[in-house]
C-alpha cells in the first residue's frame, strides 16, 4: 500500500510536466492545427529563464575589505550582489534564494513574446502547408533554439536550487498516519504538483468561463463556421499560441530545481509529451492532462525495483509501449475526438 502511494507520488512531478507540455501542444494543435515540434524547446527556455534570473540576481560588485586577508595574505575581495546592496543583506539574500519562484513573473512576458514572435513570424505561414512541413520547420526551429541556449549557457546542466524553505524532504507517510520514514517526499515536488494543478485549472477555467475561451473552444470544434460568424479567429489563436508558450515556459521554470536545466531537456520531454498527446487523444485537452499524469505515474511504477528485476528495462520503454498499444487499439487515444487528424 505505502509502496503504491509512494510510486504515485513519485510519478506526480514528471506527470505534471508531461501534462503541462501536452496541454500546450494540444492547445496549439486544436486551435491552429499545427504540429509544433518546437514546444519542448519552449519548456527548455522556461527552465533557462530560471537560470537567467538567478544569474541576474546574483550579479555582484567587488569591494576590497582591507581588514581581512585571504589565505595568501592579500586583502580580501568581497563580492556583494547588487540586490543585497540595494535591499539590505537579509532581504537581498532572500530574493536570491527565491529566484526560481520569482522567475515565474520574469518568464511570463518573455515566453509570451517568444510565443507571439514564433506564431506571427513563422507558424502563421504554415497553417495551410502539409503536416510534414510543419513538423520539419518546427523541428528545425527546435534545433536552432536549443543551439542558441547551448551557445550562451554551455552544454552542462546548471543546478538551480529551490528556495531553502523547500529544500529537503518531509515525511508524508507520518503525516497521513502511516509508519514514519516510509514515504519521504521532497517538498519541491509537492510544490510543483500544486503549481501544475493551479495552471491547468487556470487554463481550463479561462477556456470555460470567458467569452474569449468560448470562442476559442468553438473555433477548435469548427473553425470555418466560427470564422463565418465574423469573429477574427486568427487573432485569438495567436493569443492561444502565446498562452501555450507561457504554460510550457512556466512548466520549465518550476522544473529547474527538480532537474538541472540543460540544453537538450526540451527534446527529451518533447518526444514523451507527443506520445502523451497521442495517448490522450489529439485535440482533447482533458485527455492530454489525464494521459500526462497516468503515464507519469505508470513510468514511476515501472521504475520500482521489483518490476525492473522482473522485466529489465521496462521503466525506459513503458510510455512508448503504452502508446503503441493505445494507438493500435484506440486509434483516437483515450479521449480523442472524431475527425481530428484523420484524412
Amino acid at each position: 500500500m505505502d509502496a503504491i502511494l509512494l510510486q504515485i507520488l513519485n510519478g506526480l512531478d514528471k506527470g505534471s510536466a508531461y501534462a503541462l507540455i501536452a496541454l500546450g501542444l494540444t492547445l496549439i494543435f486544436g486551435t491552429l492545427g499545427v504540429v509544433n515540434f518546437a514546444h519542448g524547446a519552449l519548456f527548455m527556455i522556461g527552465a533557462f529563464c530560471a537560470v537567467m534570473l538567478s544569474r541576474l540576481l546574483s550579479l555582484s560588485y567587488t569591494t576590497i575589505d582591507p581588514d581581512r586577508t585571504d589565505f595568501l595574505g592579500n586583502p580580501l575581495k568581497v563580492e556583494t550582489p547588487y540586490v543585497e546592496a540595494w535591499f539590505g543583506p537579509e532581504t537581498g539574500a532572500a530574493i536570491i534564494d527565491w529566484s526560481v519562484p520569482l522567475a515565474i513573473l520574469f518568464s511570463i512576458p518573455i515566453m509570451a513574446v517568444i510565443g507571439l514572435v514564433m506564431e506571427r513570424g513563422l507558424i502563421k505561414y504554415f497553417y495551410k502547408r502539409p503536416h510534414a512541413d510543419q513538423i520539419l520547420v518546427t523541428f528545425g526551429l527546435a534545433i536552432v533554439l536549443q543551439e542558441i541556449i547551448k551557445y550562451f549557457f554551455g552544454a552542462n546542466p546548471i543546478p538551480t536550487p529551490a528556495p531553502d524553505v523547500f529544500a529537503g524532504s518531509f515525511d508524508f507517510g507520518a503525516m497521513i498516519g502511516m509508519d514514519p520514514n516510509v514515504i519521504i517526499y521532497p517538498y519541491w515536488r509537492i510544490v510543483y504538483f500544486l503549481f501544475a494543478a493551479v495552471i491547468i485549472g487556470g487554463v481550463f477555467a479561462f477556456l470555460q468561463y470567458t467569452t474569449f475561451g468560448m470562442v476559442v473552444r468553438a473555433g477548435m470544434a469548427d473553425r470555418q463556421t466560427v470564422g463565418l460568424l465574423g469573429i477574427n479567429i486568427d487573432k485569438r489563436f495567436t493569443v492561444m499560441f502565446a498562452l501555450a508558450a507561457v504554460v510550457a515556459g512556466l512548466a520549465g521554470v518550476m522544473y529547474a530545481p527538480i532537474n538541472s536545466p540543460n540544453y537538450h531537456m526540451g527534446m527529451d520531454f518533447l518526444v514523451l509529451s507527443f506520445v502523451v498527446v497521442v495517448v490522450g487523444g489529439m485535440g482533447s485537452l482533458p485527455g492530454a492532462v489525464l494521459a500526462g499524469f497516468v503515464l507519469g505515474i505508470l513510468e514511476s511504477f515501472a521504475s520500482m525495483a521489483q518490476v525492473v528485476s522482473l522485466l529489465p528495462g521496462i521503466n525506459q520503454i513503458i510510455i512508448y509501449l503504452v502508446a503503441i498499444v493505445i494507438l493500435l487499439t484506440r486509434p483516437r487515444g483515450l479521449m480523442g475526438r472524431k475527425g481530428v487528424m484523420e484524412s
Binding site: 510534414a132 512541413d133 520539419l136 534545433i143 529489465p312 525506459q316 512508448y320 503503441i324 486509434p331
Partner: protein, 400 residues
C-alpha cells in the same frame, strides 16, 4: 542501358563517373595551399558521403514516394550496425557477411516496426516510428547492454572467436577486409602540388552505392513505384481502385529499412564499431533533412543532400576563429573582429545551429530542395533565352 531509359541511363552514368573520379574532383586545391582545408577528397569523408547517400536514397523511397514521414529510420541503421559488428566478432573480418547480415536484420526489424506503425497514417505514423526508435535507443543503452555494450559502444576484441577467420594477428585485432582486400588500404597519387587518395573501402562503398542507386531507379520506374506515388497522391482513390495500400507502404518501409541497414553495415565495414547514439532521433532527423534538402521524391536529390550536409558538417566543424582571422587578414582589425564575432556562433561546435537554420530556410523557401532550386534556375535561363530569341522589334512580351 541495363534496362534504364535514356534519361535515367545518362543520370546513372553521370553519377557513376562522379563517384569514380571523386578522389580527383573533391580535391581541387593543392595540398599546401590555404584552400586545402576545403578539400573533401580524403577516404573517411568520401565514404561518409556514399554511406549517407545510401541511407537517404532508401529513406526517399519511403518518404519521397509514399509521403509517409518516418522519424525512426536511424533505428534501422543502428540495428544494422550492431548486427554487422557481431558478424565480425563471431564469424570473420570479411565485410561481406557483415553487410548482408546488417541488411537482413534491419529488414526484419523494419518489418516489425512497419507492420505496427503503418496501421496509422499522417502524424500518428511519424510519432509511432519515433516512439519505436526512442524505445530501441533506450533499450540499447540499458537492458540490451550485453548485446550493444551500452554507452561504450560495441567494439571488436582480441578474444572474439571469429570462427571462419582468425581471432587475432600478432596480438592485434585483424583488419576488416573484402576477400583479402584491406578496407584501409589506399593508393596515394602525387601530381604537382596535389595529392589524391584512392581508398579500397571507398571503392567498395562506391560499388554498393551504385547498385543501391540502380535499384532505386528501377523502383521509381516500376508499377510498384507508381503505386507508391499513388499512395501519396490519393490513398482513398487508391483503395476504391481496388488496390490494397497497406502492403505497398509496408514493402516501401521494409525496403527503405534495408537501405538503412545497408548503410549501417557499410559504416561497420569501414570502421568496426557501433554505438547507440546512431539510433537517436536526431540522427533520424538528419536523414530527413538530407532528403528534403536534396529534394524528396527525386532520384538524385537525396544523394546530393547527403553529400552537401556531410561536407558542410566537415567544413563548418573544422573552422575556428584563428582560421577566420586568417581569411579576414586583409581587412582592418576592427572589421575582422566584428565579422568573426558574428560568424563565431555558427562554426566549430555551432555547426548544429547552422544546420537548424538551413533546415528551416529550406522548408520555408525551397520545399522541393536543391533539385527544385536547379529547376527554378533552369526555368529562369530558358525564359531569358526565349525573350532573347523572340522576334526583335516586336512589342515586349507580357510579363509571365
Amino acid at each position: 542501358m541495363l534496362g534504364l531509359n535514356k534519361k535515367d541511363s545518362s543520370l546513372f552514368l553521370l553519377v557513376l563517373l562522379l563517384v569514380i573520379f571523386a578522389p580527383f574532383l573533391l580535391n581541387p586545391f593543392p595540398e599546401n595551399s590555404e584552400l586545402a582545408q576545403f578539400n573533401a577528397g580524403y577516404p573517411d569523408l568520401m565514404q561518409r558521403f556514399l554511406i549517407f547517400g545510401i541511407f537517404a536514397i532508401g529513406f526517399n523511397i519511403l518518404f519521397g514516394l509514399t509521403g509517409y514521414l518516418s522519424f525512426g529510420h536511424a533505428a534501422f541503421l543502428g540495428v544494422g550496425s550492431y548486427a554487422g559488428v557481431w558478424m565480425m566478432k563471431l564469424l570473420t573480418m570479411n565485410v561481406l557477411p557483415a553487410i548482408i547480415i546488417s541488411v537482413i536484420f534491419a529488414g526484419l526489424f523494419s518489418l516489425l516496426v512497419g507492420y505496427i506503425s503503418l496501421r496509422r497514417s499522417g502524424i500518428y505514423f511519424s510519432i509511432l516510428t519515433l516512439a519505436f526508435a526512442q524505445m530501441s535507443f533506450s533499450l540499447a543503452y540499458s537492458v540490451l547492454t550485453p548485446i550493444t555494450a551500452g554507452e561504450t559502444g560495441l567494439q571488436l576484441a582480441l578474444d572474439d572467436p571469429r570462427i571462419l577467420g582468425v581471432s587475432q594477428v600478432d596480438g592485434t585485432i585483424p583488419l576488416a577486409h573484402f576477400f583479402g582486400l584491406n578496407m584501409r588500404e589506399s593508393y596515394e597519387l602525387a601530381m604537382g602540388g596535389w595529392l589524391f587518395t584512392f581508398n579500397a573501402g571507398y571503392y567498395l562503398c562506391a560499388v554498393i552505392m551504385m547498385i543501391a542507386f540502380y535499384v532505386a531507379i528501377r523502383i521509381f520506374r516500376s508499377p510498384f513505384g507508381m503505386m507508391l506515388r499513388a499512395v501519396k497522391s490519393n490513398q482513398q482513390r487508391m483503395n476504391f481502385t481496388g488496390l490494397n495500400s497497406r502492403p505497398y507502404t509496408l514493402a516501401a518501409f521494409v525496403i527503405s529499412g534495408m537501405y538503412a541497414g545497408l548503410a549501417g553495415g557499410l559504416m561497420v565495414a569501414m570502421d568496426p564499431l557501433a554505438g547507440a547514439e546512431r539510433m537517436q532521433w536526431t540522427a533520424s532527423g538528419e536523414v530527413v533533412l538530407m532528403t528534403i534538402l536534396g529534394g524528396a521524391g527525386t532520384l538524385i536529390g537525396p544523394v546530393l543532400g547527403a553529400g552537401f550536409i556531410k561536407y558542410l558538417e566537415n567544413i563548418f566543424s573544422k573552422i575556428n576563429d584563428n582560421i577566420l582571422y586568417e581569411w579576414f587578414s586583409a581587412l582592418p582589425t576592427a572589421v575582422a573582429d566584428v565579422l568573426v564575432f558574428v560568424i563565431h556562433p555558427f562554426i566549430g561546435k555551432g555547426w548544429h545551429l547552422t544546420l537548424g537554420i538551413m533546415f528551416m530556410l529550406i522548408v520555408i523557401f525551397l520545399p522541393g530542395g536543391i533539385m527544385e532550386g536547379f529547376q527554378r534556375i533552369g526555368k529562369m535561363f530558358s525564359r531569358k533565352k526565349k525573350t532573347a530569341t523572340g522576334p526583335s522589334g516586336a512589342a515586349p512580351a507580357p510579363a509571365e
